[in-house]
Amino acid sequence: MATKASRSAARVMIAPSVLLLLGWMVIPLALTLYFSVLRYNLLMPGANPFIGVENYTYFLTDPAFTDAIINTLLLVGGVLTITVLGGIGLAILLDQPMWGQGIVRILVIAPFFVMPTVSALVWKNMFMNPVNGLFAHLASALGMQPFDFFAIAPLASIIGIVSWQWLPFATLILLTAMQSLDSEQLEAAEMDGAGPLARFRYIMLPHMARAITVVILIQTIFLLSIFAEILVTTNGGPGTASTNLTFLVYAESLLRFDVGTGSAGGVVAIILANIVAIFLMRMIGKNLDT
């Protein structure tokens, strides 16, 4: 791409894909913005008059909205905490030379290949079910009262399921980071008098910092839009106890057939996601530069 001619040729060449991507993004966004300022309820056919920001005020002042924001943050924060901490632990364990390393690694990665709906169903019916679930059997075997996960701790249960799905991803990325750590550095630290904890704190953790940031960034993007696990297990309930923003938008637009409010919710979700993205990019930028 050195000469003027080759640069303009390149521009012409990539133009179709840029246009396609732009259309792909712009048209749905424009439609969503358009619907979000209309009174547009599928249960009330007829005119769809322009009502300005009414949909937004309705969505934002809905008590369910605050709950959804809090739940979204708890969900993202909880899963990130568990997967990053667990991922670091597993990565260090799996990096040790051991018998059957290959098989163990594949087993650890496996949950990532299970579809969200399937894994949520499996957890709901086979593990957490208060009557037939494995945990219930375990509890009664130990003479304890079975715990009704989704009734008593719905959000925590979902955090558990989602963490189980994402732990492999974090482990995989962090394991690759661990494997790229020069063993002479660890030996040098050992000779310098650093014990196992100091080696972790001063050598391994800084070495993994970049990988940890990548894990956080990618997971946040996906975790903000967790949906299938909630739909399959709790349906956002009881009440709004496990409703996140994505699920609230779904509930507004598809359960109540209110396209206008749903669109407004969608726009709010986009804005919030972008705020989070900006923060993350700042953080990443700082970490990736060094």
Binding site: E187, A188, E190, M191, D192, G193, A194, Y202, P206, H207
Partner: protein, 334 residues
Amino acid sequence: MGRITLHGVTKNFGDTEVIRPLDLEIEDGEFVVFVGPSGCGKSTLLRLIAGLEDVTAGRIEIDGVDATGVPPAKRGLAMVFQSYALYPHMSVRKNIAFPMRMAGLDKAEQNRRIESAAAALNLTDYLDRRPGQLSGGQRQRVAIGRAIVREPAAFLFDEPLSNLDAALRVGMRMEISELHTRLKTTMVYVTHDQVEAMTMADKIVVLQHGVIEQVGSPLDLYREPRNLFVAGFIGSPKMNLMTGEEAERRQAATMGIRPEHITASPTEGLWQGTVGVSEHLGSDTFFHVHLDGRADPVTVRAGGEVSLHHGDMIYLTPDESRIHRFDAQGMRLA
């Protein structure tokens, strides 16, 4: 103090014997070089001394105290790794401070030692940089700085110069030698380069396949190699080794003569041959001479500005008093 004694030290990795039972005495303040071809177990031996590997059998004593089971940090030894092993996310200052920080030294003392090490190693201007922003030679110096501040009983170097270019290597070689004269601390230095060994060592340990072939001062090894391996390994260019009639005439299975102990003449001499490839180094010239009826060429050193050409007829005369004789087992004959 830094006297290191190895008694019957052995190391196996699985079924492979990397170090055969081996005894060695390293005196306090000595500069000892382990030299040998790649894969002969030099690094392993150094790591055994450092405590980074456990011995399979045998005993390691440091200053007369049994250190065989002592963890690396407690042996009072500092190591400079081949890859330097600097901590990439720490500044040069923090890298050098790390061992002192781990030892819990107070800040003022830490700074004093950092400043003096930096001054000695020309690092003062780079203390706030990261290792990634330094050249190879500077990184090497940081690694040495990190070792110095610990004030160890002995320094261990594992091929510290092998990642540097030739000019820098000569410079660093001098610096390390000077450091040794100044600190008078024991240094154990591993290299596969016999030039480094010859120029730096007080005592050279020649290793092959995990066995010590000879221990001695550079000149001892040069003058009286104990066997064929040492004869061929020490000295550059290599000693000329000949078997057959010439050797038998001197009651040996193999005879050796160094390139610098052969006189070349265009008119008369003991052996007749033709000049092959010649290497002009300016100060010296090395000729490869093809003797009549002999496959391997003989290397001969001549003055820098001798002009002999490819294909010229030449006569060679070895200095009989400098001929090395070896028996059928490759051991030196008196």
